[in-house]
């Protein structure tokens, strides 16, 4: 993007003054280089979001922002129901509550290396991944509704995990306000065989080692040391969420004119929060959040089982679980006044700072863990929510590296088999049913995750705690 379009607020904050139908400014957090490399579509999409009714303060984009559909990926926007604010299916995305959870293992790299190959195979066979994979759990109608109401709490009640896990999940593992009756039969049917499956594309299960600690105090609170082995799981609400997104995108696009909303892009489909469609979507979308939380909980259970077969002394404890495609009702102070706002994060992670009541007791003194996924050949990071993030971005930070290249370009540049071999030489074992899928997810197809992390930290959105490198990657 051309820097000339922005007013530079400081080294890492760029502002677009309102023009045309924009109700608020756009603020993008990024370094000069990240701004230069961002697609102009990010500018267009962020300014389009700024035109939506009831938007509060600004339309934000995180340092990993890239071209999405409707909202940019990496977009954050809050809407006030008392000012005709809207909820947007496009602002949440198809993969409702896609997110990352990270577990500590009580193991070090030296424990893993002798069984690295067997563990990779065991995880690959234990956790269904890829197109057409199905889970062992098939829910009847009653069980499906219970899962959609209960989320990870339901999963724990079914024996998939421990009560302690729930304390380390946003919303304590259960999103309130879910209405399973608002989820269509089509969406439920699409989920029937997909509980406990990883999916495909950029979703993964990784065994990682901690290579660097940047903030010893926060790392100690999170239970992290250099050389520790962690497990991270990145996936979402599977077919159910995709179908909810598909159906409500259309419903909202068609209903927009009835609500007097002019959409600059049909993909920005939205409805007033206090409308029948808006409320219907919130009920269904919250059920989708619970589906994602239950799914990650079941995958955690499968992962624990796989570890216990090979490494009986492993102790897999949940560090935290964050969702990065959501709309949540949150209280934020705006111009000295507390307001209850519907905060959309589309490819953005909640990043509450120290003392926030939503942060688990064990972490409250330092802030919320912010889990940022990298690529299979680079690094992931654990950050901690910064005290100032609430005023900067409604308590939000980046969610990943962000793609720099389309899948199409990636497959022309890399061969999956060669990538697998090259990564194996570096000690990273890849397990995937599709070599083309691996090529599409080539590390080089993503932005430099470290540059994204540096910009996130320098902008004051979240602080660096630890850097992780993969040892095993299961890809769908």
């Amino acid at each position: 993007m051309d820097r000339g379009q922005f007013t530079r607020l400081d080294e890492y904050a760029w502002r677009v003054e309102p023009f045309g139908a924009m109700r608020v400014p756009v603020i993008i957090y990024a370094s000069e280089r990240l701004i230069d490399d961002m697609d102009q579509k990010v500018f267009e999409q962020a300014t389009n979001v700024a035109t939506l009714p009831g938007i509060v303060k600004a339309s934000y984009a995180m340092p990993d922002a890239h071209w999405g559909y409707g909202f940019p990926i990496g977009g954050v926007a809050a809407f006030d129901p008392l000012e005709d604010g809207v909820v947007s299916a496009g602002g949440v995305g198809f993969d409702i509550s896609c997110g990352v959870r990270t577990l500590t293992t009580g193991l070090t790299r030296d424990d893993i290396l002798p069984v690295q190959r067997q563990l990779a195979d065991m995880l690959y066979y234990s956790v269904p991944a890829g197109v057409g994979s199905t889970g062992a759990i098939h829910l009847n109608n009653k069980e499906m509704d219970a899962m959609l109401s209960g989320g990870a709490r339901w999963a724990v009640e079914q024996g998939y995990g421990h009560n302690e896990d729930l304390q380390r999940i946003e919303e304590q593992g259960c999103m309130s306000g879910a209405v399973p009756a608002e989820v269509s039969e089509h969406a439920k049917k699409r989920q029937r065989a997909e509980m406990g499956t990883l999916g495909s594309g950029n979703h993964y299960l990784e065994v990682q080692q901690v290579t660097d600690i940047y903030a010893p105090q926060a790392a100690q609170v999170f239970g992290l040391k250099t050389g520790d082995v962690l497990v991270s799981i990145h996936c979402g609400s599977r077919g159910l969420g995709h179908q909810i997104g598909t159906e409500f995108l259309k419903k909202m696009a068609l209903a927009a004119s009835e609500h007097g909303i002019t959409l600059p892009d049909r993909e920005l489909a939205c409805a007033p929060i206090n409308s029948a469609v808006g409320q219907s979507y919130l009920g269904a979308m919250r059920a989708g959040i619970n589906c994602a939380l239950a799914n990650r909980q079941i995958i955690t259970h499968l992962t624990r089982h796989a570890f216990s077969e090979l490494l009986p002394h492993a102790d897999l404890r949940l560090l935290y679980d964050v969702s990065h495609n959501t709309c949540k009702l949150e209280e934020h102070e705006v111009d000295g006044r507390k307001r209850r706002l519907f905060v959309h994060r589309k490819g953005a992670t909640r990043a509450y700072g120290p003392g926030h009541p939503e942060v688990p007791d064990a972490y409250r003194a330092v802030g919320q863990p912010v889990l940022v996924g990298g690529t299979m050949g680079t690094a992931s990071y654990i950050l901690v929510g910064a005290a100032g993030s609430e005023s900067l971005s409604f308590g939000s930070a980046c969610h990943g590296a962000g793609r720099a290249m389309s899948r199409h370009q990636a497959t022309r540049q890399w061969r999956g088999r060669e990538l697998v071999d090259q990564l194996a030489e570096r000690g990273i074992l890849i397990r995937s049913p599709s070599t083309r899928g691996v090529a599409e997810e080539a590390p080089g197809a993503y932005k430099d995750v470290t540059a994204v992390i540096e910009a996130t930290a320098a902008a004051g959105l979240a602080g660096k705690v630890a850097r992780l490198e993969p040892l095993i990657v299961v890809k769908g």
């Binding site: 999405g68 409707g70 198809f94 197109v131 999916g199 995709h242 598909t246 899948r407």
Partner: protein, 146 residues
């Protein structure tokens, strides 16, 4: 059919989108453009030529215009792919007054043979365009979320 359209060869292609993928069908008729786009949809997952036409799945959708109809058509295919665990090598399409009647020909996913790269989550309104070009050929395109 005018003299220009006689030389058009029906085809499909992918066009770039940073996070996802654009699909485009080109044909002499609107129905042919839809059918080609359906093949582009399969090509996101696997080479359509590796998929055998073992089963026939009927698809019927109706909408107020040909663009919304196109997205609905793709989403109906995506739904059948997901719930039947299938891939389609070819889709025969008939369109009349914004109503699609189609037969999708395909088989169940065979991971070893199809090497499926990525699943498709849904068709979007991004870069959505359905229309006839000056030389008479039809285009149907949009970005799909993967």
């Amino acid at each position: 059919m005018n003299s220009a359209t006689q030389h058009i060869v029906a085809r499909w292609e992918h066009f770039p989108h940073q996070a996802d993928m654009g699909i485009r069908g080109v044909g002499v008729t609107l129905a042919e453009a839809y059918a080609m786009a359906a093949r582009a949809l399969t090509a996101i997952v696997t080479d359509p030529d590796t998929v055998l036409p073992r089963y026939e799945i009927p698809i019927e959708v109706h909408e107020v215009d040909d663009e919304l109809l196109f997205v609905d058509f793709l989403n109906a295919l995506i739904y059948e792919m997901a719930t039947r665990n299938m891939l389609f090598t070819r889709v025969d399409v008939a369109i009349n007054q914004h109503r699609v009647r189609a037969i999708a020909h395909g088989e169940n996913v065979d991971v070893a043979r199809h090497q499926p790269a990525v699943e498709v989550k849904g068709a979007t309104y991004t870069e959505l365009h359905v229309g006839q070009c000056e030389d008479g050929h039809w285009i149907a395109q949009c970005v799909v979320d993967v």
